[in-house]
Amino acid sequence: MTQSIDTSSYSAITEAIQAEAQRVLGDGTVTAVIGYAAARRKGSAQPIVISQADDAARLIFTPACVNNLAVYLTKAKKEIPRNGRIGIVVKGCDLKALVGLMGESQLKRENLYLIGIPCSGVLASTIQPDTELTADTLASKCRECDAHQPTGCDFVPPQLPVAPELEKKYQAEISRLEALTPAERWAYWKEQFAKCIKCYACRQVCPFCFCEQCLCDRNKPQMVETTPRPAGNTAWHIVRAMHLAGRCAGCAECERVCPMDIPLNLLNRKMAKELKELFDYEAGFEVNDKGPLTMFTEKDDQSFIK
């Protein structure tokens, strides 16, 4: 029988964030709150920005609240952060993105009011929104989540998350790929990248792709081929993986939005694993002035030079 995951606390969490949002909007602590609201399809949820205390009742938290809202602070709604301190509902994984963005001078902690969610997990992107949350319907990233309980927030509802021990799918898949020969591994990724249609949804949804002009959109010189052909696709995905190394903390939004089901977060997790092994570094836990790839220390491995 499939192991079900207890989400009974989610309604209490919903009430708690509604009350908190009403309070901080009412007393002027924040000018807006970014959160989730019910969408049209049964059980589904969508991002919402509210600026009136009365609208706080629209906020919800359910297993369908999959989006990483951090993206609304950097590029999706760029004008929002200009208007004063902002409240934002964050799951542990989303919080890691915010931490990274603070380290990269894109956000300031004092401009944010963080409403943390003790999250037991959300639904996978392929599952209908009104489905019950079980070990089978759970998003892969939640299976290896190490931030069910967010830390360092301004407000966290008192409910505790449940986190059953489950098989770690990304880790298993990385081990499988690492065991392949370089030729077999290359064949695997070639096949994956060949599917790409260059819609750049992965870029648009990623909180770390905050450049005003992506180098892929430049034509003087042309860095990455624009048409969806294998060479250009591969170039794009390598650029993406390299740019996220040491920064991506695994919200897996890229993988969720990919219409061609390319396992993008798998690449990101592999890079994260390398960073952990080489520099003992994990992204998203503290605001760092310098990440491992923008820093030189005398302890760095230099065996490759000799």
């Binding site: 990269e104 894109q106 905050f210 005003e212 002009q213 010189p221 310098k290």
Partner: protein, 665 residues
């Protein structure tokens, strides 16, 4: 429309031997944008430069490509010539068809094709070069000298005598370095202390020299003319200002049996100590690892007997920051030890000599201390094991040096001479003794050097045996030396009372770490690399940093002193102007695209990147972007490579130019 002139150099035969230079000139002459191309035997010579200047005027050239050697060799030469002909010097680039082509290929046909491609790439790149205005930066006329041996002392005195302030940093409690340890010096046999200690006193008394002993360089920031150096002054536990150097503390210290590193650990010292009586400064240091107070919290005798109250157990390491314009690195050498080496080290040690476990097998520096009047035996040659005078002594040269299988292939340069000196000192002190020397060959170039070596054989009765030693072992109180005499072709066995090894010169431990702090390059042995082996032997490739002494490679005293004075002269040249002209090849930020992630600022090794606010007409902040301070930027291009949205460009090396070069292939 550009009118590019291409000039192909034969470099004597260096290039023309493997590259058909006339064909290169002919083929690149056909490239779009090239209006003139020619070849000449020596482009860098006066007629060669005149050829260039005349062509610029006659052909109305707008851009110049000189296909010759590395730009590190002659870029400045040609840019100067181009400037003299009325063009902006940065419209001249070099295509390296010597190091990158003729020197590394043998097939003339293929090398010629490659040379055409190298020049073709440079033609495409130069089309997009901009006119760059010159940049000047102020020069801080103070100098840092790292290392207080003879090299550092000489450099410091020369710079200070010229009227510039010098900060001299020494890791040990006293300056003097290895030269202070020596007994007599070749080829004149004058006493090392007698010629060294007055110089040490000069340093201490010089009004322009600030001396920091027992200190290390912690951090170096900035660039030529404008370095900020953080120096760690290690806790001496004695107040340098209060201490009068009376030495009562040392006589009363109950810990008296600590091996003294200055005496190669054969002499003993106290826990509060100066390494040797002539130390500068004459201020003791407490060796906290061996001090009873620091180990048990009891004792404190030195503090009680100190009249001026200089002993301070509470003293802590201090960091001080000094602004300097130039740095002389004079960190010196260390000796190879024949002990077992850790696994993974290229240095292998000498198992056949017992890995340093036979007590009367000593190295040359230990022999110096035995022979020195100020040494632990008062200048008597006595065996470390039982204090007897050795009657048969064997010297073995090239220990570690010139032994590829032991991990070092170079010659340590000074050992032939100091071994000859050792045989003389031995003969002077032990009249009935006999010295033998095992050697591969004697390397004695240098004024009066060969005469000195011959004197050791002809007048001082040293027996030189050409051949190497295969094994040393203890037999009773003798050491059996098994070697070969290849001149006669026989095996030799000598029962010696003492064996002295001429061990290889190596860079100081931690030389690599210091190089990384300074941003200078080093070779596989960790000797520091000069900018050019022949023409820039005292400069580092990093501007504003100079080398003196054995940190750059094995050297004897005269050579070290010459190099130190040369480095000082380079520093004075730098200090002779108030403003320094810098190459204007610097990074620029495309502000429209910059998102202010400041990854560039994080990776910039020079601290050249600042934050700049962009505001609208009402003064509202629109965004904060990166700004490159052109006076600080060194043009390394790290920011350009790091910027995720490619919004930093290095002049002369823009993405457009690099892509144009690739597409030219």
């Amino acid at each position: 429309m550009s009118r590019i002139g291409v000039f192909i150099c034969h470099c004597g035969e260096n290039i023309s031997r493997t590259v058909d230079v006339e064909r290169v000139a002919r083929e690149v002459g056909l490239l779009p944008g090239v209006s003139f191309s020619t070849d000449y035997k020596y482009m860098c010579s006066d007629p060669g430069q005149n050829l260039l200047k005349n062509a610029i005027q006659e052909q109305k050239l707008t851009h110049i490509v000189v296909a010759a050697c590395s730009p590190r060799m002659h870029e400045k030469t040609f840019r100067k010539a181009v400037e003299a002909a009325g063009l902006n010097p940065f419209l001249c680039e070099m295509a390296n068809i010597r190091e990158h082509c003729s020197w590394v290929h043998e097939n003339k046909e293929e090398a010629t094709v490659k040379a055409v491609e190298i020049v073709g790439m440079m033609v495409e790149r130069i089309k997009k070069n901009r006119i760059l205005p010159g940049i000047t930066v102020p020069v801080t006329k103070r100098s840092l000298v790292i290392g207080g041996g003879i090299a550092g002392i000489q450099a410091a005195l020369d710079i200070a005598d010229c009227g510039h302030e010098v900060i001299l940093v020494e890791r040990e409690p006293s300056i003097g370095g290895h030269m202070a340890q020596l007994s007599e010096t070749f080829p004149t046999l004058d006493c090392s202390q007698c010629i060294m200690t007055p110089k040490m006193v000069d340093v201490a008394n010089h009004p322009k020299i600030t001396l920091h002993t027992f200190s290390e360089v912690e951090l170096v920031e900035g660039y030529i003319g404008n370095f900020q150096v953080t120096i760690k002054k290690k806790a001496r536990s004695v107040d340098e200002d209060k201490c009068t150097g009376c030495g009562v503390c040392m006589t009363k210290c109950p810990q008296k049996k600590i091996p003294n590193k200055f005496d190669q650990n054969i002499g003993l010292r106290t826990a509060i100590y100066v390494p040797f009586p002539q130390a500068v400064p004459n201020t003791p240091v407490i060796d906290r690892a061996n001090c009873t107070w620091f180990k048990t919290g009891k004792c404190g005798v030195c503090q009680k007997v100190c009249g001026p109250g200089a002993v301070d157990f509470e003293q802590e390491d201090r960091l001080i920051v000094e602004a300097v314009g130039a740095i002389v690195v004079a960190t010196g050498f260390d000796l190879y030890t024949i002990d077992e080496k850790p696994k993974g080290s290229a240095i292998k040690g000498y198992g056949e000599f017992g890995h340093g476990k036979i007590p009367d097998v000593i190295d040359g520096m230990t022999f110096e201390r035995l022979a020195s009047a100020s040494g632990p035996t008062g200048g008597k040659i006595l065996r470390p094991s039982d204090g007897k005078e050795p009657k048969q002594i064997v010297f073995i040269q090239c220990i570690g040096s010139r032994a590829r299988e032991k991990g070092i292939s170079y010659c340590s340069k000074v050992c032939c001479m100091y071994t000859a000196k050792h045989t003389m000192l031995y003969h002077h002190k032990v009249h009935d003794g006999q010295a033998y020397v095992f050697f591969m060959d004697a390397r004695t170039p240098g004024k009066s050097y060969d005469e000195f070596w011959r004197r050791s054989i002809e007048e001082e009765e040293a027996v030189y045996i050409r051949g190497m030693v295969s094994r040393l072992y203890q037999k009773g109180d003798k050491i059996v030396v098994m070697g070969s005499d290849i001149a006669v072709g026989v095996q030799v066995e000598i029962e010696a009372d003492m064996v002295v090894l001429a061990t290889a010169i190596q860079p100081q431990k931690g030389a690599d770490t210091l190089a990384q702090k300074l941003g200078i390059s080093y070779d596989k042995y960790h000797f520091y690399s000069e900018a050019h082996a022949k023409l820039r032997p005292v400069e580092c490739a990093t501007a504003g940093i100079y080398l003196a002494g054995a940190c750059q490679g094995p050297k004897d005293i005269p050579e070290t002193v010459s190099q130190a004075s040369a480095a000082a002269a380079k520093v004075m040249t730098l200090f002779s102007k108030d403003q320094l002209e810098r190459e204007p090849i610097v990074a620029r930020v495309r502000e429209a695209g910059c998102v202010g992630c400041f990854a560039c600022k994080k990776v910039c090794a020079y601290g050249a990147i600042e934050e700049k606010e962009i505001r609208d007409r009402q003064g509202n902040l629109i965004k904060t972007v990166a700004y490159v301070n052109p006076g600080v930027c060194a043009g390394c291009g790290t920011c350009q490579a790091t910027c995720p949205s490619k919004c930093v460009e290095l002049d002369g090396y823009t993405d457009e130019q690099i892509v144009a070069m690739i597409e030219a292939l």
